[in-house]
């Protein structure tokens, strides 16, 4: 039996490519909401993910040295860190957060979030586009969390983003891919990679996203919030691989009526006629 976490992609699954980088896993996972770091690390292993997201927050000035340092629990040789600008409601906050993240983590990758509303956590399209332009000009590899709107995604591509990350449903909702047709149009509209970010509730949601032709899935709550996060991480990994394999294999056309799988000739007839 292979050790947990050893990533062996099935033959035929192509790697994820963006901004000149290549990853074998098409599942990206968040580090949020885990009960403890041990569970988080086991879930990382089980998921096969190579990219993990982190948030950027003010250092608590009074409670330093409490041993709660996230970075001590993420092996930099195994995982690429993807900092986010979660919690930012303005272009200024998002840009400064991205710049601080780059300095702290020595990476040009940024999962750009400019949020427009605290209840839905839907992005502020205008702010997102403006922040994306600023950060692209500043040399970042920008991965924007966006609404599942093909026009916004096209504008983000034109702004120089390395990929787009349309939501499947609101962050943490577990509602799945609410508008697969929009995702399909996005895939047909733009050339940069499309990563579904947010909304995944269970494994089949990952498979649906990947069967549509998405390049990857990013999720957090669906694993961290599951009763058994480590087993769910494994389920998500298998679903992403299955969905991608199915996509690359070329599914059959949908037809309204049956087509027999067995030969029509030579069927046994009782009575011999």
């Amino acid at each position: 039996m292979k050790a947990q976490g050893e990533f062996v992609p099935f033959r035929g699954v192509s790697p994820l490519r963006f901004a000149g980088r290549e990853f074998l896993s098409r599942l990206l996972i968040g580090t949020g909401k885990y009960a403890d770091f041990e569970t988080m690390k086991e879930a990382f292993d089980a998921s096969g993910a190579e990219i993990v997201t982190v948030a950027i927050r003010r250092v608590p000035l009074e409670e330093r040295g409490t041993g709660k340092c996230l970075l001590d629990h993420i092996d930099p040789k195994k995982y690429t860190l993807l900092p986010n600008t979660a919690g930012c409601y303005s272009v200024k906050d998002a840009v400064l957060t991205a710049q601080l993240a780059r300095e702290a983590l020595q990476t040009d990758l940024i999962k750009l979030e400019v949020i427009g509303d605290p209840n839905t956590l839907f992005p502020d399209n205008e702010g997102l586009l403006e922040a994306a332009k600023v950060l692209v000009k500043d040399g970042f590899t920008v991965l924007p969390y966006t609404i599942d709107d093909p026009i916004v995604c096209k504008k983000l591509e034109d702004a120089g983003c390395a990929a787009v990350m349309p939501l499947g449903a609101p962050i943490g909702s577990g509602l799945g891919i609410r508008n697969p047709y929009n995702i399909q149009i996005i895939l047909e509209t733009i050339k940069i990679p499309v990563l579904v970010d947010a909304g995944v509730g269970t494994a089949s949601d990952c498979a649906i996203a990947m069967e549509l032709g998405c390049d990857a899935v990013l999720l957090n709550t669906a694993i961290a919030g599951a009763k058994n996060p480590v087993a769910m991480a494994r389920a998500m990994r298998l679903a992403v691989e299955a969905g991608r394999l199915a996509y690359e294999s070329g599914r059959i056309e949908r037809k309204l009526y049956a087509t027999a799988s067995s030969p029509l000739a030579g069927v046994v007839r009782a009575g011999g006629l």
Binding site: G32, A55, R57, L61, L96
Partner: protein
């Protein structure tokens, strides 16, 4: 000297540079995963000892935490 650190007004004594400020807060220059901005501009680690701190400066000191 009064400065604002992570949104809190702080009275800091014997502070001349960003490096002094961080040491006074218990953050050493060898500590990874930390970044600081002075008045909304990131101060690269290599510039910590050369960047002055003056009355009224605003600082954001951040690190990576769990998140999606």
């Amino acid at each position: 000297m009064t400065v604002v650190i992570n949104g809190e007004m702080r009275d800091m004594q014997a502070i001349r540079t960003v490096g002094d400020l961080l040491r006074a807060l218990g953050i050493s220059s060898s500590q990874g995963g930390i970044a600081i901005a002075r008045n909304d501009a990131v101060v690269p680690r290599a510039r910590w000892e050369a960047t002055p701190v003056v009355e009224g400066d605003r600082f954001e000191i951040i690190t990576a935490v769990q998140g999606g």
